[in-house]
Each structure stands twice: as C-alpha cells, then as structure tokens.
C-alpha cells in the first residue's frame, strides 16, 4: 500500500513537470495526486465499483485542490490537473480498442460503456467539488492572510 502511494505521488509529480507547474507547488500537486489514488484504492478495497470509487476520489481531489488554491494563492487548476490523471480511464480506452480489433464485440461494448461510466463519474466528482460556494474557501484564504500579516509585524 505504501509502495502504491509512493508510486502515485511520483507519477503525479512527473505530470506536474509535464504541465509546467511552478516549482514551489510540485510537492502539493504530488501529495494531492497520491491522496486521490489512496481514496480510489480504499473505495475499491471496500467493494465499491470502479466508477463510484473514481467519483469519491475525484471529489476529494477537487476539494483538496480548492483548499490548496485558497491557501497557496494559486489557481485551483494547478493542483487539479496533474492529480486527476491517476484516475483517467486509460485502461478502458485500451481494452475497448483491443476488443474491437479482436472482434469481441460484446466485451468491447461492455468496456466502452464502462469507460464512459468512469469518465462520467469523474465529471460528477468535479461538479460536486465545484458546487461548494467559493466564499467558504475564501475564508480559509483570509486565515492565512492574517497569519502572514501577523508574521510581518
């Protein structure tokens, strides 16, 4: 489990580099990605299906990204984009194409629909995460402002 977490963190870090995330935010991006993967694995372990697990993981990712964006004064996209890649249904696309070529159409349809379900779950996760009002997160941001101001004085 710890190895999984570590690999997820490193993979997300690699994505952060690919997307030119500012250097001082690498760590936060990577931790967010690792967290998303852990939630996903945990949900799978509890016997929840892949789409719903993706939903919970994306929801966590989005919320954490918004909290981080308020605390770090960065657009939330910075933390969200790299982290979400651990959940994107890459294997779904592969198996769909593979079964299509192998002419196993029923398996192909099943995989194709599953891929769309996962994509839909990610969509819902992000939408739920975004639905919370921004003012809550702004309050968090102001908290750090005060701390900074206090530090300066």
């Amino acid at each position: 489990m710890i190895v999984q977490l570590l690999v997820a963190v490193i993979s997300t870090l690699a994505f952060a580099v690919l997307f030119h995330v500012p250097r001082q935010e690498y760590l936060y991006c990577a931790v967010n990605g690792g967290l998303g993967w852990m939630v996903y694995k945990f949900c799978l372990g509890c016997g929840i299906g892949v789409p719903v697990s993706s939903l919970w993981a994306t929801l966590t990712l989005t919320l954490v990204a918004r909290v981080l964006s308020a605390l770090r004064k960065m657009p939330s996209t910075v933390f969200l984009l790299a982290g979400i890649f651990t959940l994107v249904p890459g294997s779904g696309v592969y198996y769909t194409a593979y079964y299509l070529i192998m002419n196993e159409l029923s398996k192909c349809t099943a995989k194709g629909i599953e891929t769309f379900k996962i994509a839909g779950a990610i969509v819902l996760g992000i939408i739920f995460g975004l639905a919370l009002p921004q003012s809550w997160f702004n309050r968090l941001g102001r908290l750090t402002d005060k701390k900074e101001a206090a530090g300066k004085i």
């Binding site: 490193i10 997307f19 030119h20 979400i84 890649f85 593979y98 070529i101």
Partner: protein
C-alpha cells in the same frame, strides 16, 4: 501614454476622457490571451480581463471569450471607442504561465502597478524560459513507469514502460516542433507505444504488454480537456465546454485508433491473440 503625445487633445471639461483606454484594453486582452492559450478556463479569462480593465478605471467594457478566441470592446459609445479580436489556437498546458498571470492580475487589482510596469511583467511572464525538453522526456518516462506499476504491472514491466515513455515524449516533442497535427500525433504516438510493447512481447520477453501500453498512453489521454471542459460547462460556458469535451472525445478515439492499428498489424504478422 505615448499616444496622447501624438494626438494632443483638450481635456473634456464634463467627463475626463480616458486617452489610454486602448492600451488598457490591449493589456487586459493580452493577459487573457496568455491565460487561454496555456489552458485557462473561460471564466478565469473573462474575470481577469474585466478586473484589469476596472483596476485601470475602465467601467464600460464588454468581453466575450470562447475556447479559441477573445472579443472585447471598450467605450463603445464614446470618442475613444476601441475593440479587439484575438484568435487563440489551443496550445500546450503551461500552468506556470497561468499562475504568473494570476499573480500579475492580483497585483494590478491591488493598484500597485502602473500600466508600463504591468506590460513589463506581462512580457516577463510570456518569455519565461520553458523547461528543457530533457526534463519533459524524463518526466514522461517516470510517469509511464509509475502508471504501469499502479495498474498492476511488475517492476520488470515498468522498466520497459519507462523506456517507451521516453521514446513517446521525444516523438511528441519532435512532432510538435514540426507542427504535426495533434490528431496525427495522438494516433502515431499510441501506435508507437503499442508497437514497442508488442515487439517486446514478440521477442519472447516475459512482459505484460497490456500494462506497458496503458502506462504509455496515459500521457496522451485527454484528462486536461475533460477537466477544463467540465469546468467551462459548469460555469455556463456551454459552447466552450462543448469544444473541450469534443476535443477530449476525439482524442480518446484517436488513441484507440492508434492502438487498434498496431494490434491489428501485429496480428497480421502472425502474432496471434494477445494474453490479457
């Protein structure tokens, strides 16, 4: 400010005419363009342009942003009316520039920057040295290896996934420099990874070729387009969100085509069915 020297005009006694409205418009739209080009969401672009205009005292403006264009006017009814249209092709994601522009717009809103300083900062942000290609290639390799492992591959598979990831990103970097179309890059890129993995399998190595392929194609997956498309739609920009989601869908299909073509060729060469 240099403009007012070229066209000296008397001050309007009733209402102070803003002579630099065109420059303000240009600054705001250029900032918006930079955001949009590097993968910002529509509402962020719209908000940034509006805030910059207001910070410099322009109240009467209109901005319309879609995924690949910005349209803006200032002071439509007045003497110094100005308008701007920018065509913004979809580009690579560069979150550093988005963060930089975001910071710049925050400082402008606090009123601490003059117009000239703001232009300077914008230039700095635009010309920020990009990461060296070597790092990108390395990152792609690490990412491929990581995902191969996460999705059930063995460390042995990950080594090959790492090498294929390096190859893929090198190919993508070279292709982008030669302005190869994005769809072709996706098809060829996924075909390349699949072919490489199947070749390893064909050589009799004990590898799980499917895990290696999935690790490799993750970098091509339209995750960014998906996320940005949802965020745009969620904010009511259905047109822009639709463009992004369509992009995501087409990219997904392109990847599938590339993988499929490679697998088919492998079959025709006598490789038979692959173990799943």
């Amino acid at each position: 400010m240099s403009k007012s020297k070229v066209h000296p005009r008397r001050e309007n006694p009733v209402r102070k005419v803003q002579r630099n409205s065109k420059e303000i418009l240009n600054l705001a739209v250029s900032m918006g363009e930079e955001l949009l080009k590097n993968g910002g969401e529509i509402y962020r672009v719209q908000e940034t342009v509006g805030r910059v205009m207001e910070a410099y005292g322009v109240q009467d403006y209109h901005v319309f942003v879609v995924t690949n264009g910005i349209f803006a006017t200032v002071h439509e009814q007045e003497e110094d009316a100005g308008s701007m249209v920018r065509d913004v092709p979809l580009g690579d994601i560069n979150l550093k520039k988005i963060a930089g522009i975001n910071q710049l717009s925050r400082e402008i809103c606090q009123g601490s920057l003059s117009l000239g300083q703001a232009y300077e900062r914008l230039e700095q942000c635009r010309n920020a040295t990009p990461l060296r290609d070597v790092f990108l290639v390395l990152a792609c390799g690490i990412e491929s290896a990581g995902f191969c492992f996460l999705l059930g591959g063995t460390p042995f598979d990950s080594i090959f996934s790492f090498l294929l990831g390096l190859l893929l990103q090198a190919f993508l970097v070279a292709g982008t420099k030669r302005n190869v179309s994005k769809f072709l890059l996706n098809i060829l890129g996924s075909a390349l990874v699949t072919a490489g993995s199947l070749a390893l399998y064909g050589m009799g190595l004990n590898v799980q070729s499917d895990r290696i392929i999935i690790g490799g194609i993750i970098v091509l997956m339209p995750g960014v387009a998906l996320v940005t498309g949802i965020r745009d739609s969620f904010n009511g920009d259905y047109l822009s969100g639709g463009i992004r989601l369509m992009d995501a869908l087409l990219t997904g299909i392109c990847i599938a085509v590339g993988v499929g073509a490679s697998v088919k060729i492998f079959q025709l060469l006598g490789g038979g069915a692959l173990p799943i």
